[in-house]
């Protein structure tokens, strides 16, 4: 389709509203057709409004965080003190909690998701891959607040009774596993996050693996490679896309709100121990936004929201570019799924 390029672009094509593939659209579609002009304009307007919303989003949050920006400047990011009564606002404990819980989630979720995706695309028989793949996707359908509920009443007590005491016994010499074992804290938050981002990372890695050409696998098998060796060839081929999937998962973990809020303990402190309560940017927004009295308090929270937006937007942007690079190189879209 692509080699059917038009000779003379119409005004519509010049404004970027025409398509690459349809030769007829530029040559046959009459410029004087009112219906077409109206139709095209409406669609273009919707797309443009979407772009506008994003711009307004950044603008509105930036304007509303001005009081906080003026009062604290760059120190907002490096100050540890969060004291609404004294009017002192520093975001460092929240940034720390967000980064640490997300990294912990990735640490658990990446091998797990890779394992699932490899199993579904490369190793499982089709009859098994379909239902199992669906069940893993269902994990993504469970709402955050439900994960939180389950986290409070099932996961946290279970971790408190079993996993955390063992970790403290065997690895207690590490600063991460010291302190009070309550079940509520960074550790539980990280595990809940890991469960929540696993279906997302898995789905993208599945797409990436499926986009690696079959010829790569055939070549590896032909050279006498075992199933696992072939899988490694495939993994190498999809490396950029897998990196993208992981970063996409990171973006999700950073912004995940309800479940984390319910199990992380919500205490603005910086502690090396994973068992200690912590706080994330998203959690402090969920907890304190409606109670924020005073302009400065509210604007500090909105500034946190803006930071969260910019960070996740960047992280997701990078991830998308990486995933696209693989999907485009293989010439396939992400619609078709193997397995």
């Amino acid at each position: 389709m692509r080699n059917l390029q038009p000779n003379a672009p119409t005004p519509a094509a010049a404004q970027g509203a025409s398509a690459r593939s349809w030769n007829w659209r530029r040559t046959l579609a009459p410029t004087g057709n009112t219906g077409d002009t109206v139709f095209r304009s409406i669609l273009f307007a919707c797309a443009f409004i979407l772009l506008l919303i994003v711009i307004i989003m950044i603008g509105a949050m930036a304007v509303n965080s001005l009081p906080s920006l003026r009062a604290f400047g760059f120190g907002f990011l490096t100050s540890q003190e969060w004291n609404p009564i004294a009017g002192k606002f520093g975001a460092l404990p929240f940034i720390y909690g967000t980064i640490l819980s997300s990294l912990l989630a990735l640490f658990i979720s990446v091998p797990l998701s890779l394992g699932i995706a490899i199993f579904l695309v490369e190793q499982a028989p089709r009859a098994l891959a379909r239902p199992v793949g669906f069940l893993v996707e269902l994990l993504a359908a469970i709402p955050s607040v439900v994960y939180g509920l389950w986290g409070i009443f099932v996961l946290a007590p279970a971790l408190r009774e079993t996993v955390e005491p063992s970790l403290a016994r065997w690895f207690g010499w590490l600063p991460f596993f010291q302190g009070n074992i309550t079940g509520i804290g960074l550790f539980t938050g990280g595990i809940i996050l890991a469960i929540m981002i696993t279906p997302i990372i898995t789905a993208v890695v599945r797409d990436v693996l499926a986009a690696v050409p079959v010829s790569q696998r055939e070549a590896a098998f032909a050279l006498g490679a075992t199933k696992w060796e072939t899988t490694r060839v495939v993994l190498t081929n999809g490396a950029a896309g897998i990196a993208g999937a992981i970063i996409l998962g990171l973006g999700r973990a950073i912004g995940e709100t309800m479940a984390v809020t319910m199990v992380i303990g919500n205490r603005a402190q910086i502690s090396a121990s994973l068992f200690e309560p912590s706080y994330t940017i998203a959690s402090v927004l969920a907890n304190e936004f409606t109670e924020a009295t005073g302009e400065l308090y509210l604007s500090a929270l909105i500034e946190l929201g803006l930071i969260l937006f910019l960070v996740t937007f960047t992280v997701n942007g990078v991830a998308r570019l990486l995933v696209w690079s693989v999907a485009h190189r293989a010439g396939g879209s992400s619609v078709g799924r193997a397995g």
Binding site: S18, A19, W22, N33, G35, D36, V38, F39, R40, I42, L43, C46, A47, I49, L50, I53, V54, A60, M61, P111, G115, I116, F119, L120, Q123, A124, V132, F134, V136, L138, L139, A141, I142, P143, G148, L149, W150, I152, V154, P199, K227, E229, T231, G251, G255, M258, M262, A286, F289, I302, G305, L308, F309, T312, N316, G317, A319, S333, S334, V335
Partner: protein
């Protein structure tokens, strides 16, 4: 002789590694499925005991007096309806734009923005709607909640719609154009009907996704203890109700949180399984 045995051991080792890795990856998949079963099983176990007709129709009451989630169910339905009315046409329009006119640099930008928006935390959407609607109106409102949910919905719908429309074969378009139809008639009369079931599927999944959202509602729709149908008033929702019950210190409210969760999960799982069933038949 020695080199021959070496080769054999090496081959054995490679084979063993291969089967060990297969087992490991299978374990990963098994683990994820187990977690799913554990969560859903526990919800069913705890929820079924606390559900009855009164619970489904009553409003929340103080601790010890029972009460229910009737207003939260109604509120969630109103919010979903409102967000669908705003989000579905808009999202589908963006999707059509991306699929049918999506070649230029501007369309590439829109596609990138849409994709990236999907990953923006929903709580940020809540903050945004708070600054542009709740602050000026000086009031939490169902309208703000519906718009927040619509914003979560739009990028999801736009991308699924684009993918579904791209699946429609070019020959259909060419055929219609050859009959002399203008382009807008081709898109609305031929391409859209062909992609309709796929678009509907995407819409249903987006509604399911949004029905579980809590974070964007916390400071837009806020919540309410009463039945409310007015869009300029705060409104209850299932998810916020679950959250409030879950973080309360009362066992009775915890039981209600599980029961409300069962109601919510039944809706979400039903949509997901239905969609799966229908798409399997189609594709």
């Amino acid at each position: 002789m020695t080199s021959d045995t070496q080769t054999k051991t090496a081959a054995n080792r490679r084979r063993i590694t291969s089967s060990v890795m297969t087992t490991l990856t299978a374990t990963c998949a098994f683990f994820a499925v187990t977690v799913l079963v554990l969560i859903i099983g526990y919800i069913a176990l705890r929820g079924l005991g606390a559900i009855n007709l009164q619970f489904l129709t009553d409003t929340p009451k103080p601790v010890g007096e029972g009460g229910g989630i009737g207003n939260a169910i109604l509120g969630s339905l109103i919010l979903l309806l409102l967000s669908s009315v705003i989000g579905l046409p808009f999202g589908i329009a963006v999707g059509i734009y991306l699929a049918e006119f999506g070649a230029g640099r501007f369309a590439g930008l829109i596609r990138f923005v849409t994709d990236t928006l999907t990953g923006v935390p929903s709580i940020v959407v809540g903050v945004f709607v708070y600054t542009i609607l709740v602050l000026p109106m000086r009031q939490f409102s169902a309208l703000a909640g519906g718009i927040a949910l619509a914003l979560v919905m739009i990028p999801i719908i736009a991308r699924t719609t684009e993918e579904m429309i791209r699946l429609v074969p070019t020959s259909l378009r060419e055929g219609a154009l050859a009959l002399g139809a203008p382009q807008w008639r081709v898109t609305t009369g031929v391409v859209l009907p062909a992609a309709a079931s796929g678009i509907a599927t995407g819409a249903m999944l987006a509604v399911a996704r949004v029905s579980g959202e809590t974070a964007p509602l916390l400071f837009t729709a806020f919540g309410s203890r009463f039945f409310n149908v007015y869009l300029d008033q705060p409104i209850a929702s299932l998810t916020v109700q679950i959250y409030n019950y879950a973080i309360s210190p009362y066992d009775e409210w915890h039981a209600m949180a599980w029961a409300a969760t069962l109601v919510l999960m039944t809706l979400i799982l039903a949509i997901n399984i239905l969609v799966r069933f229908f798409t399997r038949k189609k594709i």
